[in-house]
Subunit: 672 residues, 2 copies
């Protein structure tokens, strides 16, 4: 549909949409940076969505039962900022719009979760938003099953671009959503046929409708500039029993005389001359950033629509029993249940008493067996390694269309989709997701894991088979660089517990840290219980601590994590037998150790004794602790991996790669 026909058919909607277009054009021009083409193309779809379909109330942006709106094509951020500004979200002032892409503004280059109310997720890395939305829709289904349709009854809407659909993660998201029959998930695909390199045909000819249909979606193609078609398609989608794709055929840079339908409209300012022409084409006579009062009023009307629904919801919530109200509020606030601490403590006490020799993946299962009944908001799962990750505990039930009360998700062989869906669950709130795969396959999930950390969301990654200790599967399955690579991500808590006690402690921290994700790196092979004495204090929360003190004069500090703590303890014995005093420091979490006061760190790692680090992984990341934070603290060495692993029984591999108590003791002595 062309501008003339659009204006004739729906002057109000055209005005509202064009306000979005012009704000995007002006903001990008002012910043001299950004992406005008997508907001210009998708403004009509977004306007119909916000005016007629989306359940939202800018006066209560955190309303639990709001629809979630995800701008998966995050480069079109000005579309979202324009919507939030015109509908009156708190803090999204015109000044913020004018400060697009400037330091400290709410209006970052891509939407950043936490910068402003109404930004439901951080997007920009393509495909992530779409996959987040799958998790949001799953969280909604879970909460609806738990708390009832009167208080949980909303949808998740996504705007996705060609880039989102080309990224592999989209297939994982689409096929998971199709299997799960997430009827509350509606994807609006900006089908504009253009990518950065030019015509999409340069790189892709996929029939997307057929592709989505193959995964069990309802699909429909419409003219994305025809308000009636948009409206009808959204109404139809809301009635579907399966997830829905609406292919919105749009023109990127809609209305720009020389740049419409071209990659030139994608990622650069239009320029003064083109802007003049496109304003004329729209019939928009207002200055930069000016939106006439009438159009502001139309947007205010759209924004007011949700108030009634929200009021009704407050009533429904009040109709819950006090206990259920409190529980709904608790899970939506993200607060862990009060009894979690007691549960973990009881488990720790039991472990110290039993001193089991178990793999930490098994210890994690023991922890989950205690946690899951105590914390009904957990939703577990695995990327098709349930029996290896030990992520399923009794009575969770399988989450799918036949049982939305089920709390275990068979994610399939979709590590990336799983991680991004877990982000979506955590963002939605009300549920606490954990999911498993092998540590080496954190690589597959990494872009989404980075976003967990960037957004500061509580997602728990259960990553077993955490070293050459997995044995015969060989180097493709043996992580050597993954601990370092994960520790390199800011705000990511990487735990490598040494025994069942530390594993329980790591779980406690992971579940009570609301502003960061956690990785639990767990062994396949059995480990002894190294914590000999029960402590109600969570020692893992200190990141590193003295596990065994030197008997003789302390000349050596051995610092180790996970399965190598056992080796460090044995090396300590060897050294002590020779009269060399050696302390063993267990360091289950570098990040938490770094966050301790300097005085504590110095107590654990005093200057003077030589230091040997032990971890069946690359050295990178260890030097900070070994040499001292400013250098010169100590002579130091490291026993670990310098190459990829190999295929053999695990005890043979430890020998082969020289990660043994003897080697550690020798290394320490060589420094004395």
């Amino acid at each position: 549909m062309d501008i003339k026909a659009m204006k004739a058919a729906e002057p109000r909607l055209f005005g509202m949409a064009t306000a979005l277009r012009v704000l995007a054009i002006d903001a990008v021009e002012t910043a001299n940076s950004g992406h005008p083409g997508m907001p210009m193309g998708m403004a009509d779809v977004a306007t119909v969505l916000f005016d007629r379909h989306l359940r939202f109330d800018p006066k209560a942006p955190d309303w639990a039962d709001r629809d979630r709106f995800v701008l998966s094509a995050g480069h079109g951020s000005m579309l979202l900022y324009g919507l939030l500004h015109l509908t009156g979200y708190p803090g999204m002032t015109l000044n913020e719009v004018k400060n697009f892409r400037q330091l400290g503004s709410k209006t970052a280059g891509h939407p950043e979760y936490g910068h402003a109310a109404g930004i439901e997720t951080t997007t920009g890395p393509l495909g992530q938003g779409l996959a987040n939305a799958v998790g949001m829709a799953m969280a909604e289904e879970s909460l609806r099953a738990r708390f009832g349709k009167k208080v949980i009854d909303h949808r998740t809407w996504v705007i996705a671009g060609d880039g989102c659909l080309m990224e592999g993660i989209s297939q994982e998201a689409i096929s998971l959503a199709g299997r799960q029959q997430l009827s509350r998930l509606i994807v609006l695909w900006d089908d504009n046929g253009i990518s950065i390199d030019g015509k999409l045909d340069l790189s892709d000819r996929t029939d997307q409708l057929a592709r989505f249909k193959a995964s069990g979606w309802e699909v429909k193609a419409i003219d994305g500039h025809d308000y009636a078609q948009i409206d009808a398609a959204m109404a139809w989608a809301k009635g579907n029993k399966r997830p829905t794709l609406i292919a919105c055929r749009t023109h990127i840079g809609f209305g720009a005389p020389t740049k419409q339908d071209s990659a030139k409209a994608h990622g650069s300012p239009l320029g003064a001359k083109e802007i003049e022409s496109v304003r004329a084409a729209y019939g928009w006579s207002h200055g930069p950033f000016e939106v006439p009062e009438a159009i502001r009023a139309d947007w205010a009307q759209a924004a007011a629509r949700g108030a009634e629904a929200r009021a009704a919801w407050e009533g429904a919530r009040a109709g819950l029993s006090p206990a259920r109200q409190k529980e709904l509020d608790r899970v939506m606030s993200g607060e862990a249940p009060a009894k979690l601490g007691r549960t973990i403590n009881a488990l720790k006490k039991q472990i110290v008493a039993d001193a089991p020799k178990v793999a930490t993946r098994k210890a994690s299962e023991m922890a989950l067996a205690a946690i899951n009944p105590a914390m009904p908001e957990t939703i577990g799962g695995s990327a098709d390694l349930t029996g290896s990750n030990n992520t399923l505990t009794d009575g969770l039930g399988m989450f799918d269309e036949t049982d939305r009360k089920g709390r275990y998700v068979y994610y399939g062989i979709r590590e990336h989709g799983m991680a991004a869906a877990m982000n979506g669950m955590a963002l939605h709130g009300g549920v606490v997701p954990y999911g498993g795969t092998f540590l080496v396959f954190s690589d597959y999930a990494r872009p989404a894991m980075r976003l967990s950390a960037l957004m500061g969301k509580r997602v728990v990654y259960v990553m077993t088979h955490d070293s050459i200790g997995l044995g015969e599967d060989g180097p493709t399955h043996q992580p050597v660089e993954h601990l370092a690579a994960l520790r390199a991500i800011p705000n990511m808590q990487v735990f490598r517990p040494a025994d069942a006690v530390e594993t329980a402690e790591a779980w406690e921290i992971a579940l009570t840290t609301q502003d960061a994700p956690s990785v639990l790196a767990l062994t396949r092979q059995n480990l002894p219980t190294v914590r000999g004495k029960h402590s109600t204090k969570n020692l893992t929360a200190q990141g590193a601590y003295v596990l065994a003190e030197a008997d003789h004069r302390r000349q050596v500090i051995l610092m180790a994590t996970g399965s190598e703590v056992e080796i460090a303890l044995a090396a300590r014995e060897l050294l002590e037998q020779e009269g060399i005093g050696a302390r063993v420091v267990s360091a289950p979490c570098f990040e938490l150790f770094a966050a301790q006061p300097e005085a504590y760190r110095k107590r654990v790692l005093p200057a003077g004794p030589v230091r040997v680090g032990v971890e069946a992984a690359v050295q990178q990341g260890w030097d900070r602790w070994l040499s001292g934070e400013r250098g010169r603290d100590a002579k130091a060495a490291f026993v670990g991996m310098e190459s990829f692993g190999a295929s053999a029984p695990y005890d043979k591999l430890y020998q082969h790669f020289g990660i043994t108590a003897e080697a550690v003791a020798e290394k320490a002595k060589s420094l004395l």
Copy 2:
């Protein structure tokens, strides 16, 4: 089809296939570890392929014009080892089969490229082999266009499992292959309906035939135990004008009385009792690892089939002109052209003379503009960031079905698929792939990049926008941990050149290192030429070197990479102005520096002076150089990033995060 019918229809093929099945069963049982189910299920398909269709000659495993066979479902490694053993590939003795999964054997848990002839790629991480195969098929098309059908005329065959098709990378591979109309690519999908967690239906209901069709593939479903159907489908596939998917409906653990069609057959030994029963079901009366002579003779016959084709090929090759013969041999050997060194040297000389102020991404384009004409085997591309990565040079031409001589691939928004396809190209040989994306999106490509390193293949990753220096796009697009994360991967060369000279040198090293991949981390922002004097020696090859010596007594060493070398040089000026002598070390490649003799490293970083590292990235990975390799060398500090980035113009960000000459100088002084 059941065993009785199979035997009746094709007793020879049934015997051959059952030899594969039993070898797999026995090897897994002996190792007490491994995956028998897949080889048991796919043995019939593999037998027909090797007996009737695959173009191969075990006497010449490196024959340039052989078909490539990729076992994407790498856990079924015993199927491949059985095939290589029975067809007589060099070194694949029965003893190796018996040593399955043992230290030092050729028969690792998953197929490891380089361990034995006939292993065309390392597989195990799911979906990778399928995506490698796309690159192999592209390399074949490219070489056929260049050298003619008489010497390059082969196919790429893949066995892929459900896991391969669920991984997101498969969508990138499938849609790229479809767009490219890779008619020589044939995928045999082991459609057994089982994954590790149980029935596939737990997690997936995708109509795979419809999905592949949506990306432009020819598709057909067959009974994977019906030899006639298998044979007919393969013959049909060879005539197709598009890539082909053959869905082979099979039974995992075929013939095992209690474990067939169950996840129990997937990843564990069958056990003595089940093995006895399945042998009886097959009518196989031979002992463990015994293959009767008649069946060995049948396999020898299959193996002999290719000798004639290979002889014909030798003739065709001899028919090429001597120059073209030599060129074909050269590109297949992987040797870079002799003139490459001269080309790079001329460019370096010119750069030093001109001293341009350009972004290193632009410097990379300058290098490529010189390299691509001199090295006709390069195949460039980008994951839809051509204009940002500066990867396209004049005259390359677009590679697609209309022009197989084109040398530039529009990979689309498929970083992971691109990386894996490049692995496939490098494995195929004859071409040298490079491909671009933003450094932050190395996360999307990481599983394939790891395999480049593990396999030791020359793949060049052009990764621009390498820090907060990219500016307004914000933290989702700003790498802070990626340099560390890539440096953590063994055998990965990570270059971060400081100017156009170092960029040219990095390219030279990347293209002449045949046994490792390289990452070129390049800036978006302009940088001065810091190398003031031309040197024919490649200084970047030393990893780190003294760029500017102290004038006053040397009290400080400033070590920096890439865009921060300019800052270190400015900090040096500030210090010298105060009478504090400061050396600047440019460190474009940590891995190459680590590989230098200790004496050289000590000359560059002598003990004594305080050291400050400068990189707009996390500190992890730096401490080794700052504190000294065994600690205690020097007092040290680091100026870089401690958090994610932010959205703002880049100069504002450098100020905001305190990465400035002033901060570096202050930090140095604080240590004195």
